[in-house]
């Protein structure tokens, strides 16, 4: 495991996207709109729609955003550089049902799973389909109209 020292949010998104895009079993896109926000990264693997919000430090803000992503995602994650995870943080993630990832600087899978996402509610099918479709567009390409 390698520390993600010196990375910005933007570069984490780009690194993660380019490595995921090389995999045959993943469809991925970045800056995907949902509910008036842009999701940093959306990927589909084994038929599951996952969202990832990247943050260097502000985990509470990221968690609020991840909570919004759950409207359309099967699993919503926050991805951060490796850091301590106090109980308060772990509890907050469990309460929302979002997961936590650490960014991995090397390897073909850019994340280390820290807290599993366990959403209490099924996603809204309209939004889920939108994220699914967006993940299957070319990276950087988007939908014309969206919720």
């Amino acid at each position: 495991m390698t520390r993600a020292a010196g990375l910005s949010e933007r570069s984490m998104v780009e690194h993660a996207c380019s490595r995921l895009a090389e995999r045959d079993d993943v469809a991925v896109n970045v800056e995907v709109p949902l509910g008036g926000r842009f999701i940093d990264l959306v990927y589909v693997r084994h038929g599951r729609v996952c969202t990832v919000e990247f943050k260097l430090a502000a985990w509470r803000r990221a968690l609020r955003q991840a909570a919004d992503h759950l409207l359309g995602a099967d699993s919503a994650y926050v991805c951060m550089p490796r850091r301590p995870v106090p109980d308060e943080m772990r509890d907050a993630f469990h309460q929302v049902g979002a997961g936590l990832l650490f960014f991995e600087n090397e390897g073909d899978w850019p994340f280390e799973l820290v807290i599993e996402a366990r959403s209490k509610n099924a996603p809204w099918e309209v939004a889920r389909q939108q994220l699914f479709d967006a993940a299957h567009c070319s990276v950087g390409e988007g939908l014309d109209v969206y919720v």
């Binding site: 509910g35 842009f38 109209v145 919720v147």
Partner: protein, 446 residues
């Protein structure tokens, strides 16, 4: 004595794009309020619209004199830096000195002292009031829209000059914790001057009171302000608290708001210029004579910047009486199990004509209230259709709310029931305003 406010449900004309919906919903509201800026900009075109589509609808022109007390950058043209925008220039031409000082040399604002000199304020008041009397009731044959006005006059059998404003608003300036005393003196003197120079044919005279939120919580300052208005006795008071969002305000702020409104109502008929359902409850309680909103916007407004703003589209959630981001409205609808089928949606969320037209399968069709597309800057903006149906839905609901015969106490009980029922179904933040509203109103009733 009958109220000088001709009906409680007041709708704001925001921009030319509002005309179609204003005409469509013409019979759902009592009065129209227009900003002087747009009146100066559109002039006789606006007269023709009113005559053609809103014949006989009482209207009030907000003279927006507060625009000129702030940094002149707020008046500046976006395409011609360093110059006043054309619309404000027109208004400055109409209102005259001391506003001419704004663009004489480097752009600047005007001060209370410049109004206090000689007969400056008296003449200024006369011009501001005359603008309201005549801006929409006179036109010259040479104007582009004269033919439309002639057509409208023939069609209606009435003459444009018969449609003066329902209130004349004295010039006014914003009061915040810095320097409110000086501007208050100008505001009060303006009311005195406008009342003393009123013609027999003039409508009632209104004072407009625009306060910052910090003054709202300053009991001592408020008492002094109220005493001054009580002494000059305007017929009506048009109230505007800067950026006062009823559903985001604390119970303390709401209580202060109710107390202020209640005390003002003993001075004159009071209209809240930017209000939502909480203000409607104060109408039902007899505290407000009216409350104004725009077409799915304008339930609150910041004093600065002056005008403008990005078009939004929110879904008005009837049971919560607030405009919500689509994603939050969706959370509520899902939380209360309202997306199961059409009948459930109509029962639990809304059965207004727009929802009846749009919603067949709520699970998919509710998306239509939240559709967006990328703007030129890449940011998501509501589609034209989404804005349209959100505004129509909103106007249908506002019609129902203002037509409701529920007393305030009955309405408050309904809010309490909703709050209790939804407590375990939706996130607390989405319904928290209900208990703050209930608390503030009950506190006032004690």
């Amino acid at each position: 004595m009958s109220s000088p406010v001709l009906g409680p449900h007041i709708v704001r004309y925001g921009f030319a794009g509002d005309q179609y919906l204003l005409a469509l919903f013409e019979n759902t509201f009592d009065q129209l309020i227009l900003n002087a800026k747009i009146v100066a900009h559109m002039g006789s075109g606006l007269s023709a619209f009113l005559l053609n589509n809103l014949l006989g609808k009482p209207y009030v022109i907000d003279p927006q004199t507060y625009s000129f007390q702030h940094d002149a950058s707020y008046l500046e043209s976006s395409s011609r830096p360093g110059e006043i925008s054309r619309t404000f220039s027109k208004l400055i031409d109409c209102y005259g000195p001391p506003l001419d000082l704004i663009s004489r040399g480097p752009l600047r604002f005007v001060s209370p002292a410049e109004f206090a000199q000689g007969s400056v304020l008296e003449k200024f008041c006369a011009r501001v009031v005359d603008f309201q009397r005549t801006a929409l009731t006179s036109h010259s044959a040479g104007q582009d829209s004269a033919k439309y006005i002639r057509f409208a006059e023939r069609k209606s059998g009435k003459k444009i000059h018969e449609f003066g404003p329902a209130l004349l608003v004295a010039p006014y300036f914003y009061l915040d914790s810095l320097g409110w005393q000086e501007w208050l003196d100008i505001n009060i003197e303006a009311v005195v001057l406008v009342k003393s120079k009123a013609k027999k044919t003039d409508p009632p005279i209104a004072a407009q009171l625009v306060l910052s939120k910090d003054l709202l919580l300053d009991g001592s300052a408020l008492s002094r302000i109220l005493a001054k208005y009580a002494a000059v006795k305007p017929d009506a008071i048009l109230l505007w608290i800067d950026s006062f969002q009823e559903n985001e305000s604390s119970q303390t702020e709401l209580q202060a708001f109710v107390n202020l409104a209640s005390r003002l109502s003993k001075v004159a008929s009071v209209v809240n210029l930017y209000g939502g359902f909480f203000s409607e409850l104060l109408v039902r309680a007899g505290i407000f004579a009216g409350a104004a909103h725009g077409l799915e916007y304008g339930e609150d407004r910041p004093v600065l910047p002056i005008g403008g703003g990005v078009a939004s589209a929110r879904y008005y959630m009837p049971c919560l009486h607030v405009r919500m981001l689509h994603r939050d409205a969706l959370r509520v609808a899902r939380g209360i199990g309202a997306l199961a089928d059409q009948a459930v949606f109509f029962k639990k969320v809304c059965d207004c004509p727009t929802c009846q037209e749009i919603i067949t399968d709520p699970n998919t069709d509710f998306a239509l209230f939240g559709l967006r597309k990328p703007g030129k800057d890449g940011k998501p903006y509501p589609t034209a259709t989404t804005r349209d149906i959100c505004a129509k839905h909103y106007m249908h609901l506002k019609k129902r709310e203002f037509a409701s015969h529920d007393s305030m106490s009955v309405a408050v009980n309904k809010l309490r029931t909703t709050s209790t029922q939804m407590k375990d179904q939706v996130e607390a933040r989405l319904i928290a305003h209900l208990s703050r509203w209930i608390g503030a109103l009950e506190k006032h009733g004690e």
